[in-house]
Amino acid sequence: MIECKNVSYKYETFEKKAGLKGSILDFGKREKKEVTALDDINLSIVEGDIIGILGPNGAGKTTLIKLLTGIIKPQQGTIDSLGCNPFSKTPNYLSQIGVVLGQKTQLIWDLPAFETLKMLQAIYNVSNASFSVRLKYLTEKLQIADKLFIPVRKLSLGERIKFELVCSVIHSPKVLFLDEPTIGVDIVSQYAIYDFLHELNSKEKTTIILTSHYMNDIEKMANRIAVIIKGKIVKESTIDEIRKEYSTQNCYIIETKENKIPFDAKAYRIERIESCKYKLYLNEDSENILNNVNISNIVSIREEVPKLEEIIFKMFTQENQ
């Protein structure tokens, strides 16, 4: 469905020294600098995928979205999206994608969101019957049906983001690009958005490509992630596989009622995390059967699974080093 082969993108920027002297020198001759935003990216996305693109600030996530949507053109490599070259911006391609850029609104600021949606209906050539049905479904699902006729500037940030989503899917796109879709949105709205996107993905098989700094967004929505660091994809896998890879093998967290270990601990390495909470490392070569277990002192035993946030932090740190 979407295939990136050896895609690279560089952009030009400049450096200016501080102070008046720097400004004068910059006025005379600007020191230009080439920055590699993306370097040899290979990525395949199939229909119905929800892929999260992760990376620290300036890693190249938004650049990748811009390339996939056709805003910018790769300097090297090829992109095939829905059988089209995105940069050619054919009406056929643009009609099959929907985009939410968290920091760039497509709503007409002074008019009610309904006016923008009617304009989009005309732009995407959606019939009146389909438009009415879809608008009703989308606004009810996102709980903004009563806000349709309120000027956009009077809406809360969460409501505006929800309308941005409605705008991006009103024409039933095959691929939905979401760049920071929950930026500044409260937890209730975030969950409503997650729920809505899951339903869209399962009912309409909409492929979703998502970037976000909120790990929660990625964890709740994506079934696959691609981690970009310094313009390169350093990891591409499912969240479960990544968790497995980064989980501490044979490690369990035991919570107790009393502040003492509830079994015979001689054969194991035990680490006290906090009061009534222990970390138990099993031996790889033994049978790992706990002896003399005092069941009444145990609250819970669970395998230690690191949070996605911790794994990603570890990845970013390792790559930076």
Binding site: K73, I97, V99
Partner: protein, 260 residues
């Protein structure tokens, strides 16, 4: 077509929100016209002229009013809109829609100027009728008005593409306004200039939408004159459309979608 009509409609709706803005613009224009009228009145009275060039006092006042009213519809706003969209990165949202940037811009421009265009058309129609022009003249004049409007829009669209290469477009505003006021003949009729200068200036876009159009609407010319300028204007439209597409294509390759 339907999509651009809807964009036009949305723009009209947006425009109606800014009632105060519309009133201030109107008041400013009236003051500007009155100032120029008083200057010319002073020139005629102080020198006891009956005619300056071919213009009587009444002809001159009519010319000044029409030329300045025209400047309300021939505005440079689309130039700065594209520059702002590029600078803020908001052009991205337009590029993601299956629309032509030029037609979208035209629909918005028409939407923002619909009131002024309507008033100007009514004024132009009555002006021509009042001077007893025949139906053929009215027809040619309206065709020329339409072509002049399209040509001016193409001209500002070409200028707007500079926004892909420079960060701020606003320094251009005063330069463009000054060129329009002088070369368009808004302060004085261009045919008061020596003939060689007039011949060159009169075929430039600003003169066509200012001086030439005003001459046509005040019925000071023949049908052949209108047809000649229709042809010149048509050539400008084709040329500017071609240049616009080249610049837009180059500009889009340079566009990085940066900005807040």
């Amino acid at each position: 077509m339907n999509k651009y009509l809807r964009i036009l409609y949305s723009q009209i709706s947006s425009q109606l929100i800014y009632k105060f803005d519309t009133c201030v613009k109107l008041a400013l224009k009236v003051m500007q016209i009155l100032t120029t009228v008083f200057i010319w009145k002073a020139i005629y009275i102080s020198n006891e002229y009956n005619y300056i060039g071919e213009y009587s006092y009444n002809n001159m006042i009519m010319y000044i009013i029409l030329a300045n009213v025209a400047s309300v519809i021939f505005s440079f706003e689309p130039c700065f809109r594209l520059g702002t969209l590029i600078h803020s990165g908001k052009l991205t949202t337009l590029l993601l829609r299956p629309i032509h940037l030029l037609y979208e811009s035209f629909a918005r421009y028409m939407g923002s100027k619909i009131l002024e265009v309507t008033v100007y058309l009514i004024l132009a129609f009555f002006m021509i009728n009042a001077q007893g022009a025949d139906i053929l003249y009215v027809f040619f004049a309206l065709i020329f008005l339409l072509l002049a409007f399209l040509m001016f829009f193409m001209c500002v669209s070409v200028i707007s593409t500079i926004g892909f290469w420079i960060i701020q477009m606003w320094p251009l505003r005063s330069i463009l306004t000054a060129i329009y006021l002088l070369m368009g003949g808004l302060y004085f009729p261009l045919d008061l200039l020596p003939k060689p200068y007039y011949m060159v200036l009169s075929v430039t876009p600003f003169a066509i939408v200012g001086h030439v159009l005003t001459k046509v609407l005040t019925c000071q010319v023949e049908n052949t004159f209108i047809l000649y300028y229709c042809l010149i204007t048509l050539i400008w439209i084709v040329f500017l459309y071609y240049i616009y597409n080249i610049l837009l294509s180059k500009g889009l390759k340079k566009y990085e979608g940066m900005g807040n």
